[in-house]
Symmetry: none
Subunit: 329 residues, 3 copies
């Protein structure tokens, strides 16, 4: 009932100082847990299922892991209730050049088997065989304790970190979205600044989320305005990509996207504007035809001004296209 | 002076409906442009350089590309000024099952060669050889036009989409951060909901950005409180992961992370809380020793209440640790 | 009938010393091969199909590739039998700063067209047009030779790599390693089985960990023996990739890699051997010169037998190389 996996730590798994992100380790822990609990829950004939994560107990990071080290993740099923599986996962870091091994984490995860036919249906878990008699009793206690805590937290944490509370549909605030991205090695050239293409991909991603939030359909990029890269973005920056809808025509949406870079680990440098552009999106039906889009409702003076400017760009582009389509004298 | 690259489009390159993201295509366009212009700028003996993207002209997406199709990206240098290179990139989609090919994009990009020894120094570009005489004159006109436009936009778009204007250092507002993430195929199980490990990795990423913004040093995860997964997150959702600092001790920071899921393409379902947890981070010196952290300044009543709650958790954990360290009677 | 693709090598493609992983190159080779053979097999009207990798011939890594270089992969169809396609792929590395180009690899791959409607049905391959008459006869000989070898390997390699507690340095148990990988959507073709290139990349990763553990230096892939893909790996499997050192010469290490697939959610299907191959690694000094490697100490009877078999392959390959180097009469 044990499972073992190993993976070498890469530059993208770590921060600029070479320490592996806690999140990378948590992701491996969960993968090992999902494999062993899915395998266990399917070990008897019966309805096929997949194990879904329900809870992770408090986890301490006992020693840092570095790029080039191998992470060994071992998982074991330590308790089963009627509808849940407890998995204990240990993580060791191994320096394969020196042979040094260190315990990095011990984690406890709870999984619930969901039917493959109907993922809202929870199936029964085959009982695990314990090697010592007390194990079942100890497990039951942990099970009861976590159940109690889950109940409590479900009703905590009501509030949401958000600028505008409950904006109205079709307003700028309703669909406005920001994405932060910590620049990693694979985003950068060898010389330590971000590839222009990486920035553009993130800009399109934010624009797409704004468009999808506004019209709640399948949306695709129709065009991108000229994009100017005002300044290089260096390794170790956090970039904030913000998008807001500026204008809608009958069948298109214009979204302004701003990119700001924040050199978090360098106190001397200030946040600066790195790039900006306007993206145009259209909404598509299942047959690939363009659909009408809900009209944007600008509220503030700034929003109204930006709407008019967007309309100007739209009409200018429309005139240009018609001009091109007509035969030249 | 032409360059050609091809790549098959995978589920991760596309949205839920199978249409390749505009951003994926923009990224390939820029990669082709960077290769051809870097190669050109190093084609004569002299200082080695790398071509940095300065501007992308307006780009239209002429026809959608789908998963399974092969994207063919071809790039050509069409003009050089003293310090910049214009690259024209065409993208074709090929359905390798039917053989159908379609023009997807025509893009024009401007690159500037930066010295490898000093990336703030712009080098000279070797002149390109034109096949027709008029090409140089036409290129110069495009060069002048874009130069003018760049100047204009540099001073536009001053404002930033942000909740709180200019917060003070060490406040909650100063470091508070949100990340939006569009759930893609590789985030999901085969059954269409997000791996718990993916969610935890994003939670840690936001917590890390909050901690880095607060103390501007190398920070690492020290522990994660119990995480409860209240509800599954399905494919096609946009998830918002928000982090805010709740408490600081002398050498640690507690960050609360909330995960909200927004089923953007499904109007009937409302945004819901999917998970939440407290992360503890410490700041490390270059030698790996833990450093003191700047003290958090709670401002609002809610912030003060959360600070006290965080202090409670901190003292409780400290007592627990000291209890464990002492010999049992 | 030629296809060309290029990609710049990023930090994630390489090890800590900046050498691109052999597995990254194998993955690009397979992608180019899959595109050209799928296109060819669909070039006539008839049932639509996808080309699945069946075998890769022995591949040598002629010179190392580094981060920042551009890999150019070109593929060409060199032979077709009734049910299979032979593709020849060449890889060149280009340093775009200095303009230096080097041949990195020549590889030969065999593909089989599977029906899109029923992926267990093999379709017929349209005949390729040869530019020289002898090409068909030469191809037929290669086809017959590989067919014979495939038959043989299908029944070899029955056993599974199992952990030993506290092994001595330089033994097989000391460096032996296993990696498990949960097949995700981005590893798969649209038709739900794993890309051959993904499997090869994982195989090289395990072989690299075994080699690094054994000799504790910067190691690179020198060659890969023929790889046979005995069976498709389907979506939802967990694959175990195990590597063990079989033989060392003065300056090279041979590692056997076995791939086993385990359909965790489907109890009716048993774990099966999906692929196997021998990788040869060398150890490099900081100046890129090959270093002596610690000699492997085989302990059990099986290990001694495998060592002798490895020695046989090594001497045979050495003789072959010397034969090629000598002038032909």
């Amino acid at each position: 009932i044990a499972s073992q996996m190993s993976r070498i730590m890469r530059p993208d798994d770590a921060n600029v100082a070479g320490n592996v992100h806690g999140g990378t380790i948590l992701k491996m822990i969960e993968e090992a847990g999902a494999i062993i609990s899915t395998r266990h829950c399917n070990s008897q004939n019966g309805e096929r299922c997949v194990a879904a994560l329900a809870r992770v107990e408090r986890t301490d990071f006992l020693s840092p892991m570095c790029i080039g080290e191998v992470a060994h993740v071992s998982a074991e099923i330590t308790y089963t209730s009627k509808h849940s599986v407890e998995v204990q996962v240990n993580v060791m870091s191994e320096n394969i050049l020196t042979g040094t091994k260190k315990l990095t984490n011990k984690a406890t995860l709870w999984y619930v088997p969901l039917s493959l036919k109907n993922v809202d249906k929870v199936l029964e878990v085959p009982p695990v065989v314990y090697s010592r008699q007390e194990q079942e009793e100890e497990g039951r206690k942990r099970y009861e304790a976590q159940k109690l805590e889950r109940m409590e937290t479900k009703w905590r944490n009501g509030d949401i970190v958000q600028p505008v509370p409950n904006p109205e549909p079709n307003t700028v605030s309703y669909s406005q979205s920001s994405l932060i991205h910590l620049v990693g090695p694979s985003d950068c050239t060898l010389h330590g600044f971000v590839h222009g293409g990486v920035t553009m991909k993130l800009m399109d991603e934010v624009a797409g989320i704004v468009a999808a939030r506004h019209c709640k359909t399948n949306i695709v990029t129709a065009s991108v305005d000229a994009i100017n890269f005002h300044d290089k973005i260096r390794k170790g920056c956090v970039i904030t990509i913000s998008g807001r809808m500026t204008f809608t025509s009958n069948k298109s949406m214009e979204i302004e996207v701003l990119v700001d870079a924040d050199p978090v680990v360098d106190n001397s440098q200030k946040r600066y504007r790195a790039a900006s552009a306007f993206f145009t999106y259209v909404s598509l039906s299942q047959e690939g035809k363009s659909l009408p889009v809900p009209q944007l409702v600008p509220e503030t003076e700034d929003e109204k001004k930006r709407f008019e400017e967007g309309k100007g760009r739209y009409l200018q582009m429309k005139a240009k296209r018609q001009g091109q389509a007509e035969p030249q004298p």
